[in-house]
């Protein structure tokens, strides 16, 4: 067993523990964006795909490098964009919707600055 492998295992275990600690604090409301964000993070395998290209010198190597780069890039770009799209929709308060309240007009617009609007749903209980 080499020192390098031992170091790698140490880093793996500690990162796993950090992951458990950080992720157990994410509320259920955000579990889908969380998984999508985690998804984009494992797109770092793109770095590995790029390193394949460094040593590729025959057809098989080039094919592997091409497919790996395509897969990983799809993972990274798609993951971050879709996570961003989802998170943009979470608002503390109902954002003003153009008159008519048409559902079609709801998607994708209106970015209320988080925390700037008063919390709703507090009254009417007493």
């Amino acid at each position: 067993m080499t020192t390098e492998l031992l170091t790698d295992i140490t880093i793996f275990v500690l990162a796993l523990l950090v992951g458990f600690e950080v992720i157990s604090k994410v509320p259920a409301t955000l579990h889908t964006p969380l998984m999508s964000a985690a998804n984009s993070i494992h797109g770092i395998v793109l770095a590995g795909a790029m390193l394949i290209a460094v040593t590729a010198n025959n057809a098989l190597g080039y094919i592997l490098a091409f497919v790996a780069a395509a897969f990983a890039a799809m993972n990274v770009v798609g993951g971050y964009v879709v996570t961003g799209r989802m998170l943009k929709m979470f608002h503390r308060a109902r954002t003003p919707v153009p008159a008519g309240n048409s559902p079609a007009a709801v998607s994708g617009n209106g970015q209320a600055p988080a925390g700037s609007a008063p919390a709703r749903g507090q009254g009417g209980q007493a």
Partner: protein, 467 residues
């Protein structure tokens, strides 16, 4: 270590730090967007550093550059297009596809490494992680594609079994593991191809028999697999950035798998071995019989409009009918009349963890109104009307009694509300395949309709009757 190596390693540490901070910022919806940006910055840093490394190495051939850049542009373009155009109801499929390509890329990294080194003999420590990477990555790849196919409806969502499917699954596992052990001792590209095929077959035969209702668990589990595969790829190419990122994802997928399995009251093993109703279907347990009371839109609208507190319980039926905008519109109308409206979200409402929250957020529902199960359950006794839309098993009071398919499953205490309106197309069973006792509760009225048309009708009725 040269100065260049030092700098690149430190940049990778910085990237890993960004990933951890990014995940940390996801602990609240208010900071989550910043979290995603921090994480993206970390990724840009990691890729830029790798690019610098590749250029510094100076060994990349012209073809190598073309192949790498063309692959990245193609993949990036497809990913961007898919991410921009996907419907929020289809997010689980997309996440599943991203799991597939992530796991696939990790497996390819290991395959390339092995093929290249096979001729010159492979160091033993590397071989173990290489084989693990190939196996886990290939299982994730095929399993995630099947999961995405089921979610998209291209493959029947019901548990699919065929004669000998269990045996095929076990055989694939044995060949994969046995071949892997053989490979550690004796490098052989032929055996490598065999274990890749075995791992792909294992992924397919693992996910096919799993039913649609168990998808939240399956996606989480495959997510954990992808993370592990990427971490193994990090071992193979000696990259701490990959090891850390992979471990973080593995932890995330692991936690979500556990949470989903708990929310469905099932062990992970039980889910993998077979879905509801595949074998040991017991005779339906006779619930307390009773008459079903149906209600029309006008009466339901009056009940809702004159309530003080309404809790909406959305289930998959709401998502399937794409009625999240209609429910938000009704809720907004009720709020204008001073009714207190909140949403009770069961952990498995939807097709992946937290899916329902995203659908409602898309429909412009403020997230403070989205209540988790533990938070909302104590509020049901002072709820005037619980409006159940397309949710079934997660509201069945039979779960509190032993001896039936949902026993012990954590449920929303909808039956504690003063009155209950259930919007449902028919009296059909949920995934557990048993009668829902909530429907025969004297406090319950059934509104038989499709979620979308029912909600549109209710909104119109509230407007005309009391608006």
């Amino acid at each position: 270590m040269s100065a260049f190596d030092w700098i690149t390693q430190l940049l990778y540490v910085a990237a890993a730090t960004c990933f951890v901070l990014g995940l940390h910022l996801m602990n609240s919806p208010a900071s989550a967007r910043r979290g995603n940006q921090v994480s993206t910055a970390g990724m840009v840093l990691a890729v830029a550093t790798t690019l610098a490394l590749v250029i510094h190495a100076g060994t990349v051939s012209a073809t190598g550059w073309i192949v790498m850049i063309a692959g990245a542009l193609l993949g990036g373009g497809v990913g961007l297009y898919a991410a921009r155009t996907v419907e929020m109801t289809a997010i689980p499929q997309l996440v599943s596809i991203f799991n597939a390509v992530g796991g696939g890329a990790a497996a390819l990294v290991a395959i390339d490494d092995y093929v290249r080194l096979a001729s010159g003999g492979v160091a033993e420590s590397t071989t173990v992680t290489t084989i693990l990477d190939v196996l886990i990555g290939a299982v994730t790849f095929s399993g995630s594609i099947i999961a995405a196919g089921k979610l998209q409806g291209l493959i029947n969502g019901a548990p699919i079994t065929f004669p000998g499917s269990r045996a095929a699954n076990i055989a694939a596992a044995v060949i994969g593991i046995g071949g892997g052990i053989y490979l550690i001792a004796t490098p052989s590209v032929v055996v490598l191809v065999i274990i890749i095929l075995a791992a792909l077959a294992f992924g397919v035969t693992m996910v096919l028999p799993i039913g649609g209702a168990d998808m939240p668990v399956v996606i989480s589990l495959l997510n954990a697999f992808t993370g592990t595969a990427v971490a193994m790829a990090g071992f193979v190419i000696g990259s701490w950035a990959l090891i850390i990122a992979g471990a973080l994802v593995g932890a995330s997928g692991g936690i979500l798998t556990k949470l989903m399995a708990d929310a469905m009251n099932r062990s992970i093993r039980n889910i993998i071995v077979g879905g509801f109703g595949t074998g040991d279907t017991q005779a339906a347990v006779e619930g307390p019989g009773g008459d079903v009371r149906s209600i029309a839109a006008d009466d339901a609208a009056i009940q809702l409009a004159y309530a003080q507190k309404v809790v909406i319980v959305p289930g998959y039926g709401l998502a399937a009918a794409q009625a999240q905008h209609q429910v938000a519109e009704l809720a907004a109308l009720l709020e204008e009349r001073g009714v207190e409206v909140s949403y009770a979200i069961h952990p498995v409402a939807g097709r992946m963890p937290g899916h329902m929250n995203v659908l409602l957020a898309e429909a412009n529902v403020p997230y403070p109104q989205l209540k988790e199960m533990d938070e909302i359950n104590p509020e049901f006794p002072r709820t005037d009307v619980a409006l159940v839309i397309g949710a079934n098993d997660v509201t069945n009071p039979a779960a509190r009694r032993p001896g039936n398919a949902v026993s012990g499953m954590p449920i929303l205490d909808v039956d504690h509300a003063k009155s209950i309106i259930v919007i449902k197309r028919s009296m059909a069973h949920g995934y557990a395949g048993i009668d829902n006792e909530l429907y025969v509760n004297p406090k319950t009225s059934m509104f038989f309709a499709d979620a979308k048309s029912a909600l549109t009708g209710l909104t119109a009725a509230v407007k005309t009757l009391v608006g």
